[in-house]
Symmetry: C2
Subunit: 477 residues, 2 copies
């Protein structure tokens, strides 16, 4: 009897597993054209999940090349890697687009420390991109903590000779962590420009993350219109160190913080965007781009930022070819160079597109990590926005529910025009800022299926854009 009860309970539980719904689309609710689309989208997902290449490509990029900061040896190697890989996938043509990029180098590992109540504390720190070095002996000064650029400005001359500590944390209440990032990153980008003007000796910034941990997050900054002789060194400290320092300052407001860094900006270096395309079968003069950025910060391996975007973009073309989906418009895959500190590759691409009178009708960028798909953000005129939103019933069975108006991405952004439909791929954002711009943005943080689902999501919306924006396009055959 016990056995029978047990068997029954196992069956019940198996049924409960099986009942978790796969959510097939109700075919009766689809037009005949939509049925074809639904089938093709299913094919793209099946193909990505069973024969996807992106995960092994990413493993190769991150383990055999690693970090790829503009101007670095890693960046140069990744250009060759990208070109060879595009050829291997069999794109109709592959070329390199020369672009001069900033060349900032970190130098020796940074040091930061302070002593309070007789206890010396070492602080996880990293210089911000474009920061100048400290003097060789480092910077030692009292610390003023502020929560915003505005607060810093009100300090004025009080900050002379001091280190200003920007410590406004992410707003954890925001569901989308990119919004929290957007609400804080001005401290990192503009802090040194503001405080340099008033004679501060340096700026340290709380790392841009929701997580409380020991990893400093680097990222770009700039000195704005500050006179060069007023440039001051600036760095990020880990979120946990920021909390501890803030507490220590309450108890001991005159403690002296020390940090040392030897970074420098070298002359601009030659580099390349890597571009490949599948020629359009009907209107090859119309171009749709899909891309991410090949460069990364120097601390980790640039796995989520933006190795995933690179391999997903190429996988879109691979999935089209593998499943014999021939785009009507030309599909161009772009590995942009220098998104992180300058977006020179993006600007060069848009500049040449204009110069060569190329007709771009759409673009898709993946630069928000390789986590589980949630949807897309649409930057288009209102009729095309509505068109894309009408595809929700085809996309939602794959977890793609978000089809809101919003930005696309820093690399395709310069192509913006009334008639160009730009789309940003939007995976789940919860884990992204755990790794962003740190030493732990590494391959092991990427889940194979999440990555592949992203490739398939991107391929699906591009398949629809190719089919329907085409007939919607101002340039017709």
């Amino acid at each position: 009897m016990k056995k029978i009860l047990f068997l029954l309970s196992i069956s019940l539980w198996l049924i409960s597993c099986n009942q978790k719904p796969e959510k097939p689309i109700d075919n009766n609710k689809l037009s005949s054209e939509e049925k074809i689309d639904s089938t093709n989208i299913k094919t793209l997902f099946n193909s990505a999940l069973t024969n996807g290449k992106s995960y092994e490509w990413l493993r190769d990029l991150t383990s055999n090349i690693g970090s790829r900061l503009s101007g670095s040896e890693g960046a140069a190697k990744s250009v060759i890697w990208g070109k060879n890989l595009m050829k291997e996938v069999g794109l109709d043509s592959v070329w390199l687009q020369p672009v001069m990029v900033p060349h900032w180098v970190r130098g020796e590992k940074e040091i930061a420390t302070y002593t309070t109540n007789g206890v010396q504390k070492n602080v996880p720190i990293c210089a911000l991109g474009f920061s100048v070095a400290t003097p060789k002996s480092g910077v030692l000064a009292e610390v003023i903590e502020v929560k915003s650029i505005e607060e810093a400005k009100t300090l004025g001359a009080k900050m002379e000779g001091k280190i200003v500590f920007f410590n406004r944390p992410f707003d954890d209440k925001l569901i989308n962590t990119f919004k929290a990032y957007g609400g804080c990153v001005d401290q990192r980008v503009n802090g040194a420009a503001v405080c340099g003007e008033f004679g501060a000796k340096g700026v340290i910034v709380r790392s841009m993350t929701n997580s409380i941990d020991d990893y400093p997050h680097t990222g770009t900054m700039n000195y704005g219109n500050l006179a060069e002789e007023k440039y001051i060194p600036t760095a990020a400290i880990s979120s946990r160190a920021a909390n501890i320092l803030s507490d220590d300052l309450k108890e001991n407001p005159t403690l002296k913080f020390y940090f040392k860094q030897s970074c420098q900006t070298l002359p601009d270096a030659p580099s390349f965007n890597v571009v490949g395309e599948i020629k359009g079968s009907e209107t090859p003069e119309n171009i749709m781009v899909v891309g991410g950025h090949l460069d990364s910060w120097d601390l980790g391996d640039g796995a989520h930022d933006d190795g995933t975007g690179i391999v997903q973009s190429l996988e879109v073309a691979y999935l089209f070819k593998k499943n014999n989906i021939k785009p009507k418009n030309t599909l161009r895959v772009i590995f942009f160079m220098n998104e992180e500190n300058g977006t020179r590759g993006a600007k060069k691409y848009a500049e040449l597109a204009k110069l060569n009178k190329e007709n771009h009708i759409g673009g898709l960028e993946s630069d928000a990590g390789g986590h589980t798909p949630r949807g897309f953000s649409i930057d288009a005129n209102s009729s095309n926005t509505k068109l894309l939103q009408s595809w929700k019933k085809l996309l939602s069975p794959y977890g793609l529910h978000d089809l809101d108006k919003g930005g696309s991405g820093a690399d395709i952004g310069p192509l913006k025009d009334e008639n160009v439909t730009l789309v940003g791929y939007r995976p789940d954002s919860q884990r992204y800022f755990d790794y962003h711009h740190t030493s732990i943005d590494t391959f092991d943080k990427v889940n194979k299926r999440e990555l592949e689902l992203g490739s398939a999501s991107m391929a699906s919306i591009l398949y629809l854009m190719d089919k329907y924006l085409y007939s919607n396009s101002p340039v017709k055959p």
Copy 2:
């Protein structure tokens, strides 16, 4: 000029960050009652994300107690831990519900190996729950590979003296990995019962996972109606080892596989469900339950399965109390014992509920991991299913789009009745089977925000169920 261009590009990129929409609900589309609900749900999310306790509770449970297999010392400790924690949260009453549970122990670490082409290969292996041991000297036999229970049955007497190797992998094309699990797990549960009947010497099963890695996944099995003298030992091998063994068998079909395990089933042991409740303010005789299971497999720390469900369930009550949301019906938090191998706690709870003529109106279970929220699965009559689905506009701003009919969970399932609305929390499933029932189901795999968003998601639907199922309930004040 360069600087100005650079500043422009930074601004553009900041705008693009800020444009990622937070998706506020359009208040004009809500009724006045829905506006109140929307505000309360926002409060629950804000509270979980800024003052949540679940992550630290989970750290405590997983690091200070660890695994909690029924009948083990860890399980006993976790009962006390759970009772104390419920009291600490300030539930109106907390009690233990005695239940006898199976007591299976793994014994020494299992060994598996075989030699092919002169090369000895060690195989990551673990016994399945309820399996008998091998003889002390182990089992050595030729291997027959099959892909299904049906295929095994057709072998009949051919499997006598052999080890049968079940090697049907997950269907990677299924988006929901639970569905893939449901389509494979019969091999693990029933393989030994079928092959024991025909005199096989043992059964090895490919681990239940999408991932190709080196971790064997344990889990429950049963011998069904097999006579006890025909019981044969059964174990899981890692997915990578399964692939390699399958290849080796093609080349060398007569290779001999060896494995040894010393697990045994001891007499049933005394244990407890841990139960606590907040008394309903209007109809305390109506009960809504929220729970997960306190027991876990013995290999990891039971972080995702089901530590997350436990701490999220208690956090629901914590969030209600913290935000002064007084449930009209009694809200009962249950840490069920023995979900993994027997669901005795669930049966005992349902049995006593019936015996005591308790009126359950709803239940929510979290036993699908602590990943980013996707929605809920609803097991209710059609009018209540529609009612719950009508809350989509309130829930979707938090990524909760899935509100499909389906199973709820193994622990609340026995409460099923025409008038009881049962709901399963459904987080994203992509990473779950990377860890499920393995040594790597540990705290570091859980993301704090994803966990907290889950607690808030659960609290939100329970808030709505409490408010609206109440007026919908057959028992009225």
